[in-house]
Symmetry: C2
Subunit: 273 residues, 2 copies
């Protein structure tokens, strides 16, 4: 139960059918206070105009999603990823986003240990650019079902370890309940994450049983089996004071009338988050 919407942030991808020009006024009218901007939502847009649109509606830009995808057996591909992450950092700076969320990446044709080293090296390579731009980087550990092709960082422990290794106040973690809820070490690693100053972002949705699609069958809060108030409690006990970001990829919800879906999100947030 959350009594007010002051910490509610939506990811633009959650209401994917809406262009950002539609989403921003809808979010604001519904009482949403924060927005996490996905890069597809600003493709081909004037960033200063997008930033003004968001500011004019009183929304806080919480994150830019997403950079990362560093690993590849091909050095030229790795360089392309580094260049693209620098562009993402510039976009975040232009929008006033305090950080870029990094989906670490993985590659099925090389060992996880190699991919992990390339993630660390990729972050290190873009870090000076991020610091110069005043933008932080939030490593998002992804569910182990994505270890083959999307993330070789699959637990909060690994993400915390990588932050320890990189040892920069500009590098932290995005904690997403969908990816991490199953982990028996979660409470302990959230505490560690907060104590170390790594806890940059907190993402909400739910895990449905059964889940029908590996990417686009996330649940609205309350539709699944994640104990959201408990995890949010751990996050807040670890000192987190940021937004609760609703990030739902769902063919089912995207197929709905999005005004109706937005009302459902807010009701679910108040009742189940």
């Amino acid at each position: 139960m959350i009594a007010d919407l002051s910490k509610l942030c939506l990811h633009t991808i959650t209401t994917k059918p809406w262009a950002i020009e539609v989403a921003v006024p809808k979010y604001a009218a519904a009482g949403v206070k924060g927005i996490t901007v996905w890069r597809n939502a600003i493709e081909g847009r004037d960033l200063a105009k997008a930033q003004k649109l968001i500011a004019d509606h009183g929304l806080t830009v919480v994150s830019l999603c997403r950079g990362g995808f560093f690993p590849s057996p091909d050095a030229a591909e790795r360089q392309r990823a580094i260049d693209d992450n620098k562009r993402a950092i510039d976009e975040a700076a232009a929008l006033g986003a305090p950080h870029v969320v990094l989906v670490p990446g993985s590659h099925p044709r090389q060992p996880l240990t190699v991919s992990r080293a390339q993630i660390r090296d990729g972050i290190a390579a873009v870090l000076p650019h991020a610091r110069a731009a005043g933008v932080k980087l939030a490593i998002e550990p992804l569910h182990p079902m994505y270890a083959g092709d999307r993330s070789a960082v699959n637990t909060l422990r690994q993400a915390n370890d990588m932050c320890d290794e990189l040892a920069s106040p500009s590098v932290g973690v995005a904690v997403d309940v969908y990816h991490l809820w199953w982990d028996s070490e979660l409470a302990q690693q959230i505490q560690r994450c907060g104590s170390a100053g790594y806890l940059f972002a907190f993402h909400l949705c739910d895990w449905k049983t059964p889940t029908l699609d590996f990417l686009n069958d996330r649940g609205l809060m309350g539709e699944g089996c994640i104990n959201l108030p408990q995890i949010r409690g751990w996050v807040e006990a670890a000192g987190f004071r940021g937004f609760n970001e609703v990030e739902i990829f769902s063919d089912l919800h995207w197929a709905k009338n999005q005004d109706e879906f937005l009302r459902e999100i807010i009701a679910a947030y108040e009742r189940h988050a």
Copy 2:
């Protein structure tokens, strides 16, 4: 690269279209040495006849699959699971299987911590029956994508911890690469598992990218991204001398001519395991 088939075991579910009366002679003719019997394969059969069929073809019964599924919010359901596990133990004894593989279970309407306690208590409840029957119990940690409804034990560390807690020579672990390959602690936990005497079984298949189905899209060895020789090396270095059990659930492979699939399995085993 494995030079001979002396440690090759197939799970009957791998060639699901074949009844056990078909599978056993086919396996033997192909040079397979071990068989893990799934309970659906012996449903309605005379177990003494099944045991004789297997023995007459020179196959070793490696495991019975599967017991477990202990958690439920409903006490009567939990008792039904315990009773069913006792039947599985009796079936294993009748077939000469040294252990029953346990899929721990999970229930989406209760916390993982509760499910984990019920798994531990369920195993403890059937343990005297198992010891009396001379049958061991192998806890199989399942991939975190099954945490909602199939297993609240999702890492080898958790399974090892549960073995520590139960502290019985009759309780160990089945290590399945499909469930555990992503874990950055895997080498270390396999070493621990072997040293403690918990390493009862080793299951092989592969993780495809992309994987299209949560249950029935496992890969044949070499079709995916798991470094099988490396993991097998860890298992053998931990002292394991048992069979390499090929366990593949795959709508794609089940749709094939199973004689052809069996030839592919053997070729893939020799080349990629």
